[in-house]
């Protein structure tokens, strides 16, 4: 769809200061393109962030932007969207900002279904503070604050999102530009809280954390791009697919053991029951491909619209109270003459 905007219209004059090779650049450029495709005017959108490398992103957008404090972007964005439901509100956050210090605000924004588009840039490391392990670093991860390896299990963002009754979860890979734009556009179009986990590389402190799936030669074999209504087929030769085996998913090869395309699952992102979305979102190698694209996309009433509706309903029921003077007349009062 043609709109009146080009990606250039969303670029601010601020000089981008991320390290060369950082995965955040790709997400920023994709967001510029996605906004141009959506055609929302730059001054009708706001980007809210917390603290961390990824949270610098608002400075690079020619929109309204608020670079706030560590972990609180979800709460600030919730207030902004509730106050001004007509704005398109993005939240940009990282694995530390969103899942450690901001974990509580994140799950509640998801639970309330505030219409925010949350880009969670997951590089499994604290970059801005120069290399400590994060809540998504794998167990045993060696970093400056875990010289002998971590002894704790990581979060998987999809589990938190779906566990908090999230209605939209998608995943993108920094190097996969074309599909990333489609994913961000879908997140923006979804009414309700959209969580997009962006798997990004930290070239300085955690280089290659997503190498298993980033490298072009095996990306097609190790990831599956999901689209609603399409067969769950992947692989360099498009000959692999997903099927259900009892309650479990399994990877099959089309043409072997009598399996045809018809046997392969068709992706239903709109299914209200999230059981299969859970399974898809938590697939990992080497036995399974990592799911990219929109995994869950279910329409549900949004928080800010419910707030607006409730105000309108009460106003309709109490038409005699339009201002404070009217309200005072409804109190228990007495006259002194």
């Amino acid at each position: 769809m043609e709109t009146n905007y080009t990606p250039q219209d969303y670029k601010s004059s601020g000089k981008v200061k991320w390290c060369p090779g950082c995965g955040d650049h790709a997400v920023l450029n994709t967001l510029h393109k996605a906004m141009a495709e959506l055609g929302v005017a730059p001054d009708q959108m706001a980007v809210i962030s917390g603290i961390g490398c990824s949270s610098r992103l608002p400075y690079y957008m020619n929109s309204y932007g608020f670079h706030t404090i560590h972990g609180r972007a979800s709460a600030i964005a919730t207030g902004l969207k509730t106050a001004n439901p007509d704005l398109t509100v993005w939240q940009v956050t990282g694995d530390g900002d969103c899942l450690a210090i901001g974990g509580n605000h994140f799950i509640h924004a998801v639970r309330r279904n505030v219409d925010l588009n949350i880009i969670l840039m997951n590089n499994r490391i604290y970059g801005l503070t120069k290399g400590q392990y994060s809540p998504t670093s794998p167990k045993g991860f060696i970093s400056k604050s875990s010289p002998y390896g971590t002894v704790e299990e990581p979060f998987r963002p999809a589990e938190l999102c779906l566990g908090a009754r999230g209605q939209f979860f998608a995943r993108l890979l920094d190097v996969d530009l074309k599909n990333s734009q489609e994913t961000l556009v879908a997140a923006a179009r979804h009414k309700g809280c959209s969580v997009v986990e962006a798997l990004v590389n930290c070239v300085i402190f955690n280089d290659g954390t997503h190498r298993d799936i980033q490298e072009k030669e095996f990306r097609a074999d190790r990831t599956i791009y999901l689209r609603h209504g399409e067969k769950m087929i992947f692989g360099n030769n498009r000959d692999k697919g997903l099927m259900l085996d009892g309650f479990q998913l399994k990877v099959v090869t089309i043409g072997q053991n009598g399996i045809t395309e018809d046997n392969i699952l068709t992706h239903d992102a709109h299914c209200i029951d999230n059981t299969l979305h859970f399974k898809l979102a938590t697939m990992t190698g080497p036995d399974f491909p990592v799911a990219l694209g929109v995994i869950r996309d279910v329409e549900a009433p949004t928080y800010e619209e419910e707030v607006r509706r409730q105000v309108a309903d009460v106003q309709a029921k109490r038409p005699q109270v339009k201002c404070l003077n009217d309200f005072f007349k409804t109190l228990e009062t007495w006259e002194i003459k």
């Binding site: 601020g14 001054d43 400075y59 309204y64 932007g65 709460a75 207030g79």
Partner: protein
């Protein structure tokens, strides 16, 4: 016996019982009907932190004190003339709050072996044990009379007993010669939707009144005559309600929707309750996941152009500190309400203290000036909430409004204002013609306030944040000179507000040598003490502060006139220390401090000030 009648200038009545006995309702009804009758009123609820402590236990006693007057009264009163004790525990925990010759009404049905044991009495004569034999004890079988009154009502036993507070109310109405018609009207409003309960409560109340009339008790009844109050329509208002309504008033006068982000916390929660109920006036409330989210949602709403507020108590202020600093740095309007309670830590959640002052003034990282103002009566919480919002919006700054548990839950009669008498609130929106030349931190050079472009306004997209920024372009800046300049500007912006707030005024006898100084919720007690001192020939002046940062412009001028300054506050001298840091050297600033999580008594203030003469 002959029933005599005494006319009093004022009287203090304290209702107390088990926390399930409905004493808060009884007290509220009695104060309202006294006000309707034309008395001055001031009330103070005193309830336990536990929702339901064991029945009959000392920790489960809930009280409600009402001060009624035929003249101006300023406090809920030090000691009660009349105590209604619905059980032995209520008697035991409240004897310290009564006068020597007080009338004590007890429900004698509860003074059995079991009741006395639950209240940890050691003998079977509680009056002797408490050394209150000089009081006039009126032993009334309230429970059994309530049961016989409602024997034919069809209500179950439990529901019947829940009406016994109405028997007490009826009896007290007789004691104070209050006609029952108004009480009937009030009950009608309360129970209107439940006709069976309404009838039962009305019958018990009437029987309580008639019982007093018929027993020929050897006690005098009292009359407190109506006072001459300013003409108008009045209501009984609690501080938290008034605070909530003051914010709505500011929303109307600024034309900005009101947004409250809040997390439940005693004693501030009623502000959230009241605003959540005011949807007909367009108020949006978010019950946030925690205190931090409460203030952060408000900051987001401010960025989006709402009048944004958050309500809390001391522990919540501690949690919100970093975010308040963000509002200081981003220069966004924000109202933060601190309904103070006893501290530190969880402290005494239902009790009042003034121990958050230095936290409000200084409890943030960096040089982080906030406006701090304080309400001083339950009713003027309305005006100071309005002022807090007006200053926040017109000066693009967070404003911390200090109230306390005493103001929040206490009530006084309030002459309902007409909103047309309140001033307009005019936020410094960027003029349209600045489009193209505007940057987010360009300021008005008179009051140093930056121009505001609300997120979503066409043509003014911009970025702000918690990092230091260049004063001209708004871009991130670590330049040392710029940081000094911005620090100075943020301070000057707050200091300049001294030019728009009212001057400090002196009450009592301005020609005195001794000046009593207070701030916030202690006004009534300090004023009553100063009035008594002057009446006794001890010339005393008084200056009470509602504006704390910045101080009124004439503060040094006023304080310099007095030989001795006695700062009275419910903390260890926080305002005194602040004044010493702000005032010229050489002032004789003394302190009278109390940290018992209770209001001052007029008597102790009077004696403390007298000791300074």
């Amino acid at each position: 016996m002959i029933v005599t009648n005494k006319t009093l200038d004022k009287a203090v009545i304290r209702f107390c019982g088990d926390s399930g006995d409905g004493m808060q309702l009884t007290g509220t009804l009695f104060s309202t009907l006294s006000a309707v009758f034309g008395n001055e009123i001031s009330t103070f609820p005193d309830y336990p932190a536990e929702m339901r402590a064991p029945q009959g236990s000392l920790s489960g006693v809930s009280g409600y004190q009402v001060h009624i007057g035929a003249q101006k009264i300023y406090t809920p009163g030090d000691q009660a003339d009349v105590l209604i004790a619905m059980n032995p525990a209520a008697l035991k925990t409240n004897v310290k709050n009564i006068k020597r010759d007080a009338v004590v009404v007890i429900d004698e049905d509860t003074f059995d072996q079991s009741g006395l044991e639950k209240a940890e009495f050691k003998t079977d004569n509680p009056f002797k044990e408490l050394n209150i034999e000089s009081a006039q004890i009126l032993s009334v079988p309230i429970s059994s009379l309530t049961k016989s009154s409602l024997a034919d009502s069809g209500l179950d036993n439990k529901s019947i007993l829940r009406c016994k507070n109405m028997f007490a109310l009826g009896f007290v109405c007789w004691l104070f010669n209050k006609p029952l018609e108004q009480a009937e009207h009030l009950l009608g409003n309360k129970f209107g939707k439940k006709p069976t309960l309404l009838q039962a409560n009305l019958k018990v109340m009437t029987d309580g009144y008639n019982y007093g009339h018929n027993i020929h008790a050897s006690v005098s009844t009292y009359t407190v005559n109506p006072t001459k109050m300013e003409k108008g329509t009045y209501t009984d208002v609690k501080g938290n309600q008034a605070t909530a309504w003051g914010l709505i008033a500011a929303s109307e006068k600024s034309g900005l929707p009101l947004f409250l982000g809040s997390y439940p916390i005693t004693p501030a929660t009623d502000i959230l309750h009241e605003l959540a109920a005011r949807k007909e006036l367009g108020v949006k409330t978010v019950q946030a996941e925690d205190e931090i989210a409460g203030v952060c949602t408000a900051i987001g709403a401010a960025f989006g152009g709402n009048l944004a507020a958050t309500s809390t108590s001391g522990p919540g202020i501690a949690l919100k500190s970093e975010a308040i600093g963000l509002a200081v740095m981003a220069e966004l309007p924000l109202v933060v309400i601190d309904v103070q309670r006893g501290g530190p830590s969880t402290g005494l959640p239902t009790k009042a203290e003034q121990t958050d002052l230095l936290q409000a003034l200084y409890g943030r990282n960096g040089e982080s000036p906030c406006v701090v103002i304080a309400a001083s009566t339950p009713a003027n919480c309305f005006d100071y909430a309005f002022q807090a919002a007006k200053i926040a919006l017109e000066h693009m700054t967070p404003v911390i409004l200090m109230t306390d548990a005493f103001l929040a839950n206490g009530s006084s009669a309030w002459r309902i204002p007409d909103m047309k008498d309140y001033p307009a609130i005019v936020p410094p929106f960027v003029p349209e013609e600045m489009q193209g030349q505007w940057a987010p931190y360009l300021r008005n050079d008179k009051n140093f306030v930056r121009y505001w472009a609300v997120a979503g306004r066409k043509g003014f997209a911009h970025r702000i944040g918690g990092l230091e920024k260049d004063g001209r372009t708004g871009a991130i800046s670590t330049d040392p000179e710029n940081h000094q300049r911005m620090t100075d500007l943020r301070q000057k912006k707050v200091d300049a507000i001294a030019q728009v707030i009212p001057p400090l005024k002196v009450e009592g006898d301005p020609t005195a040598d001794v000046l009593v100084v207070g701030w916030g919720g202690t006004y009534g007690h300090l004023y009553a003490a100063v009035e008594e001192l002057n009446a006794a020939g001890r010339k005393t002046a008084m200056a009470h502060f509602n504006y704390i940062n910045p101080l009124p412009a004439n503060t040094a001028e006023v304080l310099s006139k007095y030989k001795k300054i006695v700062v009275c506050e419910l903390n260890n001298g926080q305002f005194a220390a602040y004044l010493r840091s702000k005032m010229p050297a050489g002032l004789d600033i003394r302190q009278f401090d109390k940290v018992q999580a209770q209001p001052f008594s007029v008597e102790e203030v009077r004696e403390a000030v007298l000791a300074q003469f």
